[in-house]
């Protein structure tokens, strides 16, 4: 189990403060969601032990990770959000290099590199230079390197970014498999089709929610509505409710409207919110609360 206690990080240059963050992550898939610039990458770097927090503790298996950071990192697989590769390396060279950096050498390194490459479906591309690879292949290579040491903890910063639909589905399936015996903490904007054990919502450096996804979406109940309309009505609706979505058919469109009051439309019904819709409701609510607080402060 990975535990974060009162974790705080300050960036005086841009006045950004992360924290204080408290959460317990056990085996399973934990998804960190939040708008851009909310501190997700910083929190993941802290959890990966590569950026020390200013205050607070990180415990893994009850032990402070900084008591033996190398031991913690031996059990860690990490995929950063932005990364590149040494351009002269082939996929296999890269995996062998990272295996060496994780303390795996010679035959064991080759065996493990081939295994993870095969698992991620990139083995046949590995003899080629990475500079010739597509973005999707590179993303899979980045995930593959995180598995080289068969880690207990996987920390992935936007691992689904840049992947094609079928690749995303395959990675989601793998994440589900790994979540049975690993602590997985990942940030993602695609939260609907993931087998999430715990959802964490981070906004402006503050953890707003940490819990079961069903409880998260319950908070958005009676704020998502569904109706069938014409395409022209939808265009007006979209202007009035910008967070709404629609599926177009030959005779009109099925729209899903996010609104905290019932829109004035014929045959409109409340709908069960998806996680992504609940996420939008949460963000709207937080924005409203912040505006109200600022208003009260001025008064």
């Amino acid at each position: 189990m990975l535990e974060l206690h009162e974790v705080t990080k300050r960036f005086p240059k841009n006045a950004f403060i992360l924290g204080s963050i408290n959460c317990h992550l056990s085996t399973g898939l934990h998804v960190l969601a939040g708008p851009n610039g909310s501190g997700k990458s910083t929190l993941l770097r802290i959890a990966a032990g590569i950026l020390p927090p200013d205050r607070g503790n990180l415990l893994f298996g009850g032990q402070d990770i900084y008591a033996n950071l190398a031991h913690y990192k031996k059990n860690l697989g990490y995929v950063p959000q932005t990364f590149a590769f040494y351009s002269h390396m082939t996929g296999m060279d890269f995996l062998l290099y990272l295996a060496n950096l994780k303390g795996i050498f010679s035959k064991a390194a080759k065996k493990q590199a081939s295994y993870v490459a095969d698992l991620l479906g990139i083995l046949e591309h590995c003899p080629r230079k990475i500079s010739t690879w597509s973005i999707g292949l590179r993303q899979r290579l980045a995930i593959a390197q995180a598995l080289l040491n068969d880690p207990d903890i996987l920390i992935l910063d936007e691992p689904l970014c840049g992947l094609a639909f079928e690749e995303t589905t395959e990675i989601q399936r793998l994440l589900y498999t790994w979540s049975h015996n690993k602590v997985i903490l990942m940030s993602s904007h695609h939260i609907d089709s993931l087998p999430i054990a715990k959802l964490l919502l981070l906004c402006k450096g503050t953890l707003q929610f940490a819990g079961l996804p069903s409880i998260f979406s319950d908070q958005a109940a009676m704020q998502v509505w569904t109706a069938k309309t014409s395409k022209s009505t939808w265009q007006n609706l979209h202007l009035a409710f910008p967070l709404s979505t629609a599926v177009f058919t030959e005779d009109g469109c099925h729209c899903r409207i996010i609104s905290n009051t019932k829109p004035d439309l014929p045959n409109i019904k409340p709908a069960l919110p998806t996680l992504e819709e609940a996420y939008l409701v949460w963000l709207e609510r937080l924005k409203r609360n912040e505006a109200e607080q600022q208003h009260d402060h001025r008064m």
Binding site: S38, T42, I50, P52, F83, G103, F105, S214
Partner: protein
């Protein structure tokens, strides 16, 4: 008030991955059977008064202290394996270009004035600077964050890279020495110290400077020192010869090599202060 809908309960059980609906219903019924009345204010205050000292004691958070040493990857074998891994950073292109640089330089010098020893003394620092930039290009390649998540510390990585730079440059210069010394009446160790001194000196400046200004800043500082030495020196001798005019070249070279080694030692000791990644920490 508890959850009434069976579907909702099933959903919760699925997410929790344990228990069954019957047990959950029993628990909810049991909870529902107890009417909860809010406690009186006095009771709440009393409870808070009892808890406050305990909570304060537990909530004391210490600033994070990054330990000075790590308990793994400290053996000689593990360090040698790390050095071996860093050899993968050399590309065939870099090796071919650096060898060609030496061969072309030596050929041109032979054709022009024949002072190949001077060429070697001036080219070895340049090779050192280029090798440092090439070997320490992780940040430019956006690889440093990925490398920082590996169990080796940044200090151990940097030490391994310095070792690779030193070994590669010295081997290449030794190969060039054999070409320069072939058929000439040179004392071998004097030829070696003649290029080793400026090489160690520039590497020392580059690496010590990199602790303060980053690898490019350190390399720039070192290049400036090398250029200044070229401009200020006379007759192909180093700046030290100019500053110590009556001292034999051999001693001047030994002095330069000694200062270079001291700078490298300082750089090594400075590296041991690095234990965590301090990359683009403005990015959130």
């Amino acid at each position: 008030m508890t959850i009434k809908s069976d579907d909702k309960k099933k959903e919760l059980l699925d997410e929790l991955g344990e228990g069954d609906l019957e047990n959950l219903n029993t628990v909810f019924n049991y909870l529902d059977s107890y009417p909860v009345t809010p406690p009186p204010t006095e009771a709440t205050d009393h409870l808070l008064a009892l808890l406050t000292p305990v909570l304060q004691e537990n909530s004391i958070q210490k600033d994070v202290q990054v330990p000075a040493a790590h308990s793994v990857f400290d053996t000689l074998t593990e360090r040698l394996e790390l050095i071996q891994a860093q050899l993968r950073l050399f590309s065939r292109g870099f090796v071919i270009l650096s060898v060609l640089f030496f061969l072309c330089g030596l050929s041109l010098t032979t054709a022009l004035d024949g002072d190949t020893l001077r060429f070697l003394a001036n080219a070895s620092p340049l090779l050192g600077i280029l090798t440092v930039i090439y070997q320490f290009r992780a940040q430019q390649n956006h690889m440093n964050e990925l490398e920082a998540a590996c169990p080796y510390t940044p200090a151990q990585l940097a030490s391994a890279r310095i070792s690779v730079v030193l070994v590669y440059d010295i081997l290449l210069c030794l190969a060039a020495t054999s070409i320069v010394s072939y058929g000439e009446d040179y004392v071998l160790w004097q030829v070696v110290t003649h290029w080793l001194a400026p090489l160690l000196l520039t590497l020392g400046i580059a690496l010590l400077g990199s602790l303060r200004f980053g690898i490019f800043g350190g390399s720039l500082l070192s290049t400036a020192a090398w250029a200044f030495n070229l401009a200020a020196s006379k007759d192909g001798n180093s700046l030290f010869s100019f500053l110590l005019p009556h001292t034999p070249v051999m001693y001047v070279d030994l002095l330069g090599a000694g200062i270079g080694l001291i700078l490298l030692c300082f750089a090594f000791s400075g590296l041991h202060g690095l234990h965590v990644w301090e990359g683009d920490n403005q990015s959130t």
